[in-house]
C-alpha cells in the first residue's frame, strides 16, 4: 500500500503563534528546513522530527502521521 507522510506542523505552529523562523530557532535548524517540511518538499530525519516535536512540546505522532494515498489515516494506535 502506498503511503505518504502528512504533517500538522503549520497548525501546531499557528496554535502557538510561532513563525517559521521562531520554530527554526527553537529546533536549531534554518527557516528553509521548516518551510520545506511544511510544504511537503522534505521528509525529515527521525532526529529532526524529534527536535521539532520537542520544540513544540508535543509527541512526534501529533505532528507526523502516515496517510495512505486513498486518504485514510494510518497512524499507529489511532482508531
Amino acid at each position: 500500500m502506498d503511503e505518504k507522510l502528512r504533517n500538522t506542523l503549520k497548525v501546531q505552529r499557528a496554535i502557538r503563534d510561532l513563525t517559521q523562523a521562531d520554530l527554526a530557532l527553537l529546533a536549531g535548524v534554518t527557516r528553509r528546513s521548516v518551510n520545506a517540511i511544511e510544504t511537503g518538499r522534505m521528509v525529515p530525519s527521525v532526529l529532526l522530527a524529534l527536535k521539532l516535536a520537542r520544540a513544540l512540546s508535543v509527541s512526534i505522532e501529533t505532528i507526523f502521521s502516515l496517510e495512505s494515498l486513498d486518504g485514510a489515516d494510518t497512524r499507529q494506535g489511532q482508531p
Partner: protein, 156 residues
C-alpha cells in the same frame, strides 16, 4: 516576532548562497585560465599567463577572508546560528542531491568533452597538454554543476 538571532541565521544562509555564486565565478575564471594555458601553443600567451598562477594563492586567501567575515563582523563557527546553517538537514540533503547530479553530469560529459578536445584542438598539442585540458574542464564542470544544482534546489 523575529529576533536578531533569527535574522542572523537567515543572513548567514543568504551570505552562503552569494559566496557559492562567487565561488562559481572564480571557478569559471580559473578553469578558463587553465584551459587557455593547457591548449595554447608555447610562446607569447603562455609566458605572461604563467605569472597569473602567482595570484592564485592571493585569490584563495582573499576569498577565504571574505567567507569568514560578513559586514565587518567575524563569523564564529561555534555560534548556534552558524551551526544551524551548516548542519541544516534541508541544505545538506540538497548538497548531496546536487553532488549526485553533478557526478552523473561529469561522467556523461566525459564523452563529448573528450571528443571536442580531440577534434577541436591543434594536432601539434602533446597528449599531456590535452589531458591537462580535459582535467581542467572536468573539474570546472563538476564544481559549476554542483553549485548550480545546489542553488537551484535550495531556492525558496
Amino acid at each position: 516576532m523575529v529576533s536578531p538571532t533569527e535574522d542572523r541565521s537567515e543572513v548567514l544562509v543568504r551570505f552562503h548562497r552569494r559566496s557559492l555564486a562567487g565561488l562559481m565565478v572564480i571557478t569559471l575564471v580559473l578553469g578558463a585560465l587553465g584551459l587557455a594555458l593547457a591548449l595554447s601553443p608555447p610562446g607569447a600567451v603562455r609566458q605572461p599567463s604563467n605569472l597569473l598562477w602567482w595570484l592564485l594563492p592571493l585569490v584563495i586567501a582573499a576569498f577565504s577572508r571574505l567567507l569568514t567575515s560578513m559586514g565587518g563582523h567575524h563569523i564564529d563557527p561555534q555560534s548556534p546560528e552558524m551551526k544551524a546553517a551548516i548542519q541544516d538537514e534541508w541544505r545538506r540533503n540538497n548538497m548531496l542531491r546536487a553532488a549526485r547530479a553533478a557526478l552523473i553530469v561529469v561522467l556523461v560529459g566525459q564523452w563529448p568533452l573528450g571528443l571536442s578536445l580531440g577534434f577541436l584542438t591543434s594536432p601539434q598539442l602533446t597528449p599531456v597538454r590535452v589531458a591537462s585540458a580535459m582535467a581542467a574542464a572536468t573539474i570546472m564542470l563538476g564544481i559549476v554543476t554542483t553549485i548550480t544544482f545546489f542553488l537551484y534546489l535550495d531556492r525558496e
